[in-house]
């Protein structure tokens, strides 16, 4: 029987390999090893080389340079040298460079797809149909931003030299996500690809030469952790953009604390995939293939936790098992596979160990009986059932082809289970009922929500996480803002006034009845936990009164009260605006009293005090005005779906106020924060806390719900540390000393809260309100994708 006749009977699939000839020829040309791409040219790494291996076979592919701190220094210097010219190059000229890169990527798309597949182990189907087209799209999209920047985001400036560190799971795509927006905005970059997967970045460097990218604008240094550390530590780097594990993200946060470097981080995830009983279950099963068995599950936003409504759980699991029974795992260059190889043996061991751990904790592990390659870092698709919420496979990011299943009883429970995680990167919801699906989408704490789909990406759609999945966005307007700075709000004025020199002889402030202010927690004036008070003084050192000496337990109570006030975050913007207006109204009624208090306590002329109160009222109006106007449009993604971004509150923000302008600075920070739906715990001016404590009654009469604004008086840096360490606090805005800023950032690593610190600088509180910047800091972007079609 001929082979054709045989196959006619069996109807099996045969091999269909994509040719790697051109890529292997290119690698052969570089068999002596790759250099570093610095200043538009190739230089030898001084740290020797490391071996790039082919995950599917374990065979060596190439030798890649290891950049030492000295090499990194050279790359940063070249980026720094290129910055003055590149940042002043016209938007149109920059657009032309980005466009040239986009075109070259398209022209070399097959080559790039094969190279990426060889180096990473992912299927050629994915590199060809997903990775590389998204890379080209990213450069096109940002060519457009370069063109439009001056018009659309006037007054914004690039940051300078940006250090970018990317992971191995989407080597070229993550490079595009990092480089395209950075250079579109006029920054120059030093990028380090992951040690396992440097090759597409090195080929990209060759494309940069061909595209005419000016020397030094894009520098690519290869190496491992130490190379990355040298970038993170480099004093001339203005910003670090990192994609990788939460563990490394925390290290970077700690190392950059107080450095003034801006930071965006896209970290790990354990994303829920929620299936309601009215979902198209066949499609949901296939959606899971796209969610967790895409890229071998080595996806930060992989839908690794399946939450399925109890009534259809068995049915969906049966469908999944049937689908996995048809799964094909093998040579990444073969066009007849669903899944390729994990990136390296070490990753396979890690996945395997986590699955073993889950089993030992009582989980049931299921893998299909399918043909598996005998060599290379292959791991079968895996289904884990019978787990509790404490099981390793349910909690830990596995970064492999492993799905863990749990059922739920109601939408409410689904949301609770979904949000019961340190992570908050992405989520999927499957239902044919748009009402239910969108309700869940609104309640999920995740930066991206896919309705009836999974793992959709586009350059126009912001991507990034909530909670310990990181901060900052990539893609869209929000992503662009991460590479630009507004006109600075900071001045050389101090934020901390020297401690009072008590003037024992001075007369106490006249005409004020002792009000014995306490803390303001949960809408009540509460006695400080320690039972102590601190004497506070006027600007010229006279006794002004006493305030509570707050301690860590007061902070704990204040955060609990803020947590309980969660309904504020889901109240309507209109409602929040009304309360802010009412607050302004009530402050106006008592303007004279506050003016007098300002003069008496903080010093200054009555005219200055009157202006300060008036400006505070204006700030309340501005925040109220913005409450329902800080919005973003529907996104123009190139597929048939409605993709929208919503600005959501961060949750609980800790606000540490400066000493000057004790009323105005308080209002300027607190009003936008609560306008966006946050609840706040405020440490008022340590020097002049009475202006804040005087506000208690104003807040009470303004219908500010209990727990939305909580105020603890006391020693700034002691309380700030407790706030920064508190894992329930989502962000910390610190105004204090240089050292206090560093300490606040360093202490924030526990839950990777978003920090905004003054670095010891002051602000012209009477001048710019900085509302836009403040609201940007007070919100996080959620992108919701809803494909449609009947």
């Amino acid at each position: 029987m001929t082979r054709v006749a045989e196959i006619f009977q069996t109807m099996e699939y045969g091999p269909a390999p994509e040719s790697a000839e051109a890529v292997r020829a290119w690698l052969a040309k570089h068999e002596d090893g790759f250099g570093l791409f610095v200043g538009g040219d190739w230089v030898k790494a001084t740290g020797g080389t490391l071996s790039a291996l082919e995950p599917a076979t374990g065979n060596p592919l190439a030798r890649v340079g290891v950049a030492t701190p000295k090499d990194v220094d050279r790359a940063v210097a070249s980026a720094r040298a290129a910055f003055p010219v590149w940042s002043k190059t016209s938007g149109h000229e920059r657009a032309k460079v980005l466009y040239a890169l986009a075109r070259l990527i398209q022209k070399q798309s097959r080559f790039l797809a094969v190279l990426e597949s060889l180096d990473n182990g992912k299927p050629i189907r994915e590199t060809r149909d997903i990775d590389v087209p998204l890379v080209a799209r990213h450069f096109y999209y940002h060519a457009g931003w370069a063109q439009l920047l001056d018009e659309e985001l006037p007054g914004r400036k690039p940051l300078g030299v940006v250090g970018q560190i990317i992971p191995w799971n989407f080597p070229l795509l993550m490079l595009a996500w990092k480089i395209a927006p950075a250079i579109a905005c006029g920054n120059t970059v030093v990028l380090k690809p992951a040690e396992h997967t440097s090759l597409s970045a090195l080929y990209f460097a060759e494309l940069c030469q061909e595209a005419g990218v000016p020397a030094g604008v894009i520098n690519i240094v290869t190496g491992a952790g130490e190379t990355g550390q040298a970038i993170v530590d480099h004093p001339d780097v203005a910003k670090i953009a990192f994609t990788g594990s939460t563990e490394v993200g925390k290290l970077i946060r700690a190392r950059t604390a107080g450095s003034g470097k801006s930071l965006t981080m896209e970290l790990g995830g354990k994303s829920p995939f929620i299936v309601l009983e009215d979902a198209d279950l066949d499609s949901a099963a296939e959606g899971l293939v796209d969610a967790i068995w895409f890229n071998q599950g080595e996806v930060c936003c992989a839908g690794s936790r399946l939450l399925v409504e109890e009534g259809v759980a068995d049915k969906l699991v049966a469908k999944l098992k049937a689908r996995l029974g048809q799964f094909r795992v093998g040579d990444p260059l073969d066009k007849v596979i669903d899944m390729g190889a994990l990136v390296a043996p070490v990753q396979k061991e890690r996945v395997s160990a986590l699955v073993d751990q889950s089993r030992s904790e009582g989980a049931e592990i299921w893998q299909p009986d399918i043909a598996m390659p005998t060599e290379g870092s292959f791991y079968p698709p895996t289904l884990i059932t019978g787990v509790g919420t404490g099981n390793t496979a349910w909690c830990e990011e596995i970064f492999g082809p492993v799905l863990t299943v749990m059922s739920f009883r109601s939408v409410k429970e689904a949301v609770q289970l979904a949000n019961n995680s340190r992570y908050g990167l992405a989520a999927a919801v499957w239902s044919q009922d748009i009402n239910r699906a969108l309700e869940i989408a609104a309640e999920l704490k995740a930066g991206v929500v896919w309705v009836n789909t999974a793992n959709q990406f586009d350059a126009a759609a912001p991507f990034g996480g909530y909670k310990e999945s990181g901060f900052g966005r990539e893609g869209g307007r929000a992503g662009l803002e991460a590479y630009l700075q507004s006109e600075s709000l900071w001045t050389d004025d101090p934020a901390v006034l020297p401690p009072a020199k008590p003037n024992a002889g001075g007369a106490p402030v006249a005409g004020v009845i002792d009000r014995t202010p306490r803390n303001y927690i949960g809408g009540k004036q509460t006695r400080p936990d320690g039972g102590s008070t601190t004497e506070v003084y006027t600007a010229d050192g006279r006794h002004a009164g006493r305030v509570g000496e707050g301690n860590r337990k007061d902070i704990r109570d204040a955060v609990e009260a803020a947590f309980a006030a969660e309904s504020w975050s889901s109240s309507t913007a209109h409602n929040r605006a009304q309360i802010l207006y009412y607050w302004a109204e009530n402050l106006a009624v008592r303007a004279e009293e506050f003016e007098a208090r300002l003069v008496a306590v903080a010093g200054g002329s009555p005219k200055q005090a009157a202006a300060g109160v008036a400006r505070s009222i204006e700030r309340l109006f501005a925040a109220a005005a913005w409450a329902d106007k800080y919005e973003s449009p529907a996104l123009k993604v190139p597929s048939k779906q409605l993709a929208v971004t919503v600005h959501e509150p961060l949750g609980i923000i800790g606000i540490v106020c400066p000493d000057p302008q004790p009323l105005l600075s308080f209002v300027s920070l607190v009003a936008p924060a609560i306008a966006m739906g946050n609840r706040v715990v405020v440490i008022p001016s340590q020097r002049f806390p009475l202006l804040a404590t005087d506000l208690y009654q104003v807040l009470e009469t303004s219908d500010v719900p209990a727990g939305v604004i909580n105020i603890v008086t006391g020693e700034r840096d002691v309380l700030a540390k407790t706030l920064s360490e508190h894992d329930q606090v989502d962000a910390l805005w610190y105004h204090g000393s240089v050292e206090g800023s560093r300490a606040a950032e360093a202490a924030s690593v526990g839950n990777l809260k978003q920090t905004w610190v003054n670095g010891g600088r002051g602000r012209d509180w009477m001048g710019k309100g900085g509302e836009r910047e403040t609201m940007r800091r007070a919100t996080q972007v959620k992108t919701i994708w809803v494909p449609y079609g009947s």
Binding site: T2, R3, E6, M11, Y13, A16, S283, D290, T453, Q641
Partner: protein, 333 residues
């Protein structure tokens, strides 16, 4: 769950035995109402399928031969004549040029197409022309393509065609029952047609291009299977949109659901607009992936096509010679 038929979806090799016929089940509206279809997700599955599965070289040749055996070679034109139908039947008996079949090593298999599909008036001619073979004649029926002639006439039409020797009847459903959601009426109609078919196999054409929404395609499929359809078929070939891979996916998933509920295997026939060999391979892939190897057989899978065979022949010749072929080198059907 009882499995009445041979060749389960997880069987190692396709069955060449005819499965037991689906007798249908009593109408249960909840089966229809349970159907959920997300159109966008269905399209994404189809978009990615071509990148996940492909066949090249020997495999492609073998799969194309399989496609030939699953073909309902069709002529449904107002100007059909006995001569035209006889020529088509000759092609049906020897769809692959003899030298190609020999070179491929399948000459002794005497491959034929799955059936010849004609209007009632041509049934007798076709039956006669196919005498001595096992190729069935299929008649389109019940007021094809619109299905709006009197019900009694439609029933009688089935009887006439069966009497004339048709072993398969491709009926059209009343689209209004689907559009108005009257699933019981649809069930009754198809059940009556099935009874009228007697021993002949019934293929229910649901005319997907006229049903308005993806979930209606799924629901109509389920109602027809409950009523005892042996096959469900996408289109008459006369609608604005005929067979597409996404609607096919919706239908085959319902076949799988029905199998899981009842144990009965129902066949699938996409029809209209399938002209390229490459498209035929996509359909075979879809069947293999979603239903299993049992559906890679004319007993459970057919293409309704007239121009497809010519392209397959050219591709097979290219496979053997490495040169691109020309239409006139293959016997005209």
């Amino acid at each position: 769950m009882a499995i009445h038929a041979v060749g389960r979806s997880d069987a190692p090799a396709p069955s060449h035995n005819e499965p037991e016929r689906n007798p249908g089940v009593p109408f249960d509206a909840s089966w229809v109402e349970a159907v959920r279809v997300n159109r966008s997700a269905v399209e994404r599955r189809i978009d990615s399928l071509g990148g996940r599965r492909t066949v090249k070289k020997d495999w492609q040749a073998a799969w194309l031969l399989k496609a030939v055996t699953c073909m309902d070679l069709t002529t449904l034109a107002g100007d059909d004549t006995p001569g035209r139908v006889q020529r088509l039947c000759a092609k049906a008996k020897h769809p692959i040029r003899r030298d190609l079949a020999e070179a491929l090593g399948v000459a002794e298999l005497n491959l034929t197409v799955g059936a010849v599909c004609v209007y009632h008036e041509m049934v007798e001619t076709a039956v006669k022309a196919l005498e001595g073979t096992n190729i069935p004649v299929a008649a389109v029926s019940t007021g094809f393509p619109a299905g709006l002639s009197p019900f009694k006439v439609r029933l009688a039409e089935i009887g006439e065609s069966v009497a004339a020797g048709a072993r398969e009847i491709d009926i059209v459903i009343s689209r209004r029952h689907v559009l108005t959601g009257d699933w019981a009426a649809l069930y009754d109609e198809v059940k009556a047609f099935r009874e009228a078919c007697g021993p002949a196999h019934l293929k229910a054409i649901i005319a997907t291009g006229e049903l308005g929404a993806a979930d209606k395609v799924g629901k109509a499929s389920m109602a027809c299977m409950m009523a005892g359809a042996d096959f469900i078929k996408t289109s008459t070939g006369m609608e604005g949109v005929n067979a597409t891979l996404p609607v096919s996916l919706i239908m085959v998933r319902q076949i799988r659901d029905y199998l899981e509920r009842t144990g009965w295997q129902v066949g699938f026939k996409p029809a209209g607009g399938i002209r390229a060999a490459k498209t035929a391979l996509s359909y075979l892939t879809l069947m293999k992936e979603e239903l299993g190897d049992a559906w890679l057989s004319p007993h459970l899978f057919r293409f309704g096509a007239s121009a497809l065979l010519g392209d397959i022949e050219r591709q097979l010749e290219h496979f053997l010679t490495g040169r691109y072929s020309a239409a006139h080198r293959h016997p005209l059907g």
